[in-house]
Amino acid sequence: MRFRAALLSTALIGAAFVGESPLAFAQQNPERDVFFGQTHVHTSWSFDAYIFGNTLTGPEEAYKYALGEPIKHPAGYMVQIKSPLDFQAVTDHSEYAGTVRLANDPSSAISKLPIAEKLKVKSKEDIQKIYLWLGTTITKNEPIKELVSPEVAGTVWKQVVAIADKYYQPGKFTTFVAYEWTSTPANRNMHRNIIFLDSKKVPDLPFSSIDSTHPEDLWTWMDGQREAGNELLAISHNANLSDGIMFPIDVDNKGRPIDAAWAQQRILNEPLTEIQQLKGASETHPALSPDDEFAGHEILTYLLGGIDRAPRIHGSYIREAYQNGLAMQETLGHNPYKLGVVGASDSHNTAISYSESNFFGGHGLMDGTAEVRLSGKKEANLDMALLSTSGLAGVWAEENTREAIFAGMQRKETFGTSGVRIKVRLFGGWDFGPDAANDNDWVKTAYAQGVPMGGDLPAMAGKAPTFIVWAVKDPEDGNLDRIQIIKGWTKSGQIFEKVYDVAWSDDRQPDPATGRVPPVGNTVDIANATYANSIGSVELKAVWTDPAFDPALNAFYYARVLQIPTPRWTTIQAHQLGQVPPSNVPLTVQERAWSSPIWYTPSDDARKSATRSVMVAELQQQGAVALDDAQLKELVVGKTLKVRNTATGQAFEILYGTDGRRLITNVDGRQPEAGELGDVLHSGELGAPAFYEIGNGRITTTLGNAPFDVTVYKLADKYVAARSSEFGYANYELEPVAP
């Protein structure tokens, strides 16, 4: 107890020194330290959190909790963080911020307004009623004028800023003025958290989704803030719940074609995205990464508000956005998705649970007890057993100050974790030797000769890039299984990925054929919800050179660090309740950390040396004509077509049945494998025979909830096809097979 009391006083004491000589505490480390923190938490000041039953604790308590002080969970019990944080941003919703709380406080000015009567929570039934009412006014963009007037909203915002300043202890604990921009068009999550560098020039009011639901308008407002000397950045979250609109490739949120200006404005304002939080992971989806055996981690298929519709997968995951971003870099000259990652929470409890062993939900009374969480009962159509623990952000910075941590976020020297404190470093360079990570001061050399995570490899010819990757386990959690490097690249508008195991624990041998390292094993005792660190490593390190580097192609590389399997929170709490764990979630989890990528962009010379497919524009210049519906039907219906993918050289045979279904019958002269079946014209999708339609001059196949269009051009006696989402390339040569 003395120990805890001491921690607590560390937290309290710093506040007294604010404004005197803040920098006296800071010590700069040029090789940078890792700081763990949180960029996404709600308190009772968020209109929805209040309504979920979090009525008592505000931003002050959020900072106290992060510093190690116990606070009260909305369900009435005390909760305390296991390891205090280094930094935190409290991100209450800007929409109606604080107003529900103040309407329920008879001493406030807001409670005297007639409108306050409608916001008062008098019974359990009021909770949902007020939530839906306020939520609907936001989604329909018909705000309640009294609550967004500067007199009301400005008062709350001033307090948000003052509290952030009160708890900032440079060198010890960093706070950021922040809020969440909560745009949810048609139940699709487009939310962003906005983080301000400092509090000196913050605006009188935040820009909320009531001002506009379009991220483009948010960025324009952010540009204006920056010009006025108020530096800020946005972190998007829950791409997985965006129904495909978080990472668009054709048209923006206003329906305009995406161009270089859009890409530039986006990446300038939005350098980061959340890779895991309470509502699931957004790295990738098994349907997008069928060859990635660890892609199924904490997948949540859901749309806000609980509407009964399967969300679109394409456009909803970060790895695919990285890949498409490369293609956009190549075709537009700008990559809007050169994003770094953080892990975050989105808890609406003021307090946050990071650990599987201490999970207390994130939505007030809706998931406040183990019984409710494991009951299988759905709230807003969501089974609470599907929730993940909160994620955590790691930032490499010279010191624990607003300036240093914000700069780390801006240069994307960040990583996200599933809540554990795995520490991970990644450096890329051209001159790292095989012993580059062996010296005591290898980090110094790595900075001098390479670039850290979030950076760009400088142009270079004649060799392949080498990466140093290093990870140390969370001292309070499971050992490490392996480090992987995930590489993505693009060619002729098509996207590719490969997962390499580069460092692993114990004496395992990679499979000679696939290069894959076998599973680490499993020490989890399900019945008792325990595990043992008798397998796995404390520290893993590797120097790895890309064995398949093509200097002509855009590429990215990021590290993923996996822990050994440990019991998922649902398994632990089922054990505590004497129940069987729920069957709709895994029994165990492999906690993990993801680094921000390092990007490679070929020089103009290197690009010119690449062989690439013809572009549609070039075909048209040569006099090619697109087939109309009748010609398409004549060409494909009831026929088998030989298709050659000119980007990969792969050859397919596709049977377009008269029953409206089409089937890939042959890939490179053999029977297709599972991952190749659902494909329109090249591989990458799971599925069985798919339906196709011909209309508007296109063959349309719908896969994974997303339509893919194929246009066929005739040039002299040859047929060349272009597929949507391939950035203007015509990658397919068609040849009817004689019956």
Partner: protein, 310 residues
């Protein structure tokens, strides 16, 4: 209902409310209670049950609230509507009280109870403590302002990645060797394995040690005696032999160092305590008779149907 009645201007969702006479009465009661206690402390004379009087200040308050909602002052006609509505509300409120409609109404009860809580908190928040008062309080509760202890230590690391299940034995063996060695205080990497972070940690708080090694290790290091190799101690990263150079124990700072913090903590505590004291005083005036919670069987009580979501 007259066309210019303020309530009739609200969106139609409220109309349903207005068709509920009971709710209407209750709402009227709430408005009056809040208005009466917060805004009109002295203006109204002793109330007679059959006398209703609005002052000019009352009217101004009506106009202020109206302006806040509609962003312009009310017209004369609108003002008259507000006044009529207020009088009507007052009459209905008193009739409701006379009929006892406020009794056994959960909404009214909770609202009034909540109001009492806020009142108790407000009263204590008004007073600023004197320095002497703060000093006395600090002297009595200084422990909560204690600065964390600091430790400086060296350690030798024994890596489970390299040594597996033999790690702790290797550490124990190394300790024996060090104990019989004259130059033990200068022992370096000749013992143990390379460590991924630092060999020496100077002037660290418990949090700083825990961030590297885990909380349990930090706890144990702060309990060591300086000046000899001790262990093996397990951390989250493996086994260690530890030489503590110095420990500065947790200390309570001087009042002057932390006065602003003491003041803010004092206010927080007073606010919370006043709430409790006020309640205790009220509680003392009541005899409360309730059966023990355990005497009730709740297993047979069915939960109400879930509200339909969107």
């Amino acid at each position: 209902m007259p066309d210019d009645h303020a309530a009739a201007r609200r969106p139609t969702s409220l109309n349903r409310w207005l068709r509920e006479p009971l709710l209407l009465f209750v709402a009227a009661g709430i408005v009056l209670f809040a208005g009466y206690s917060a805004l009109q402390p002295a203006a109204a004379p002793e109330e007679a049950p059959d006398r209703i009087e609005l002052t000019k200040d009352d009217l101004r308050q009506l106009a202020v609230a109206w302006t806040a909602q509609w962003k312009r002052p009310p017209t004369m006609q609108e003002m008259q509507g507000l006044i009529d509505g207020k009088v009507r509300e007052e009459i209905l409120y008193r009739e409701a009280l006379a009929m006892g409609l406020d009794r056994d109404d959960t909404i009214v009860k909770r609202r009034l109870a909540q109001k009492m809580e806020f009142l108790a908190e407000d009263m204590s928040a008004l007073r600023d403590p004197s320095t002497d008062e703060l000093k006395a309080w600090f002297a009595a509760s200084g422990e909560r302002f204690a600065l964390p202890g600091r430790v400086s230590f060296r350690h030798l690391y024994f890596s489970p990645d390299r040594r597996g299940s033999g790690t702790v034995h290797a550490a124990t063996a190394a300790l024996r060797e060090l104990e019989s060695s004259p130059g033990a205080s200068a022992a370096t990497g000749a013992f143990g394995d390379p460590f991924m972070f630092q060999w020496f940690y100077g002037d660290r708080s418990p949090k700083e040690v825990a961030d590297v090694f885990g909380a349990e290790f930090a706890h144990r290091v702060f309990a060591l005696t300086p000046g000899s190799w001790q262990g093996p101690i397990e951390s989250g990263l493996g086994w260690h032999l530890v030489w503590v150079d110095s420990i500065a124990p947790s200390r309570v700072p001087a009042f002057d160092e932390v006065e602003p913090l003491v003041r803010s903590e004092w206010l927080d505590e007073q606010r919370a305590a006043a709430k409790e004291t006020a309640f205790e005083a009220m509680r003392a005036r009541y005899d409360v008779f309730v059966p023990a919670a355990s005497t009730l069987d709740v297993s047979g009580i069915a939960a109400p149907q879930e509200t339909a979501s969107r």
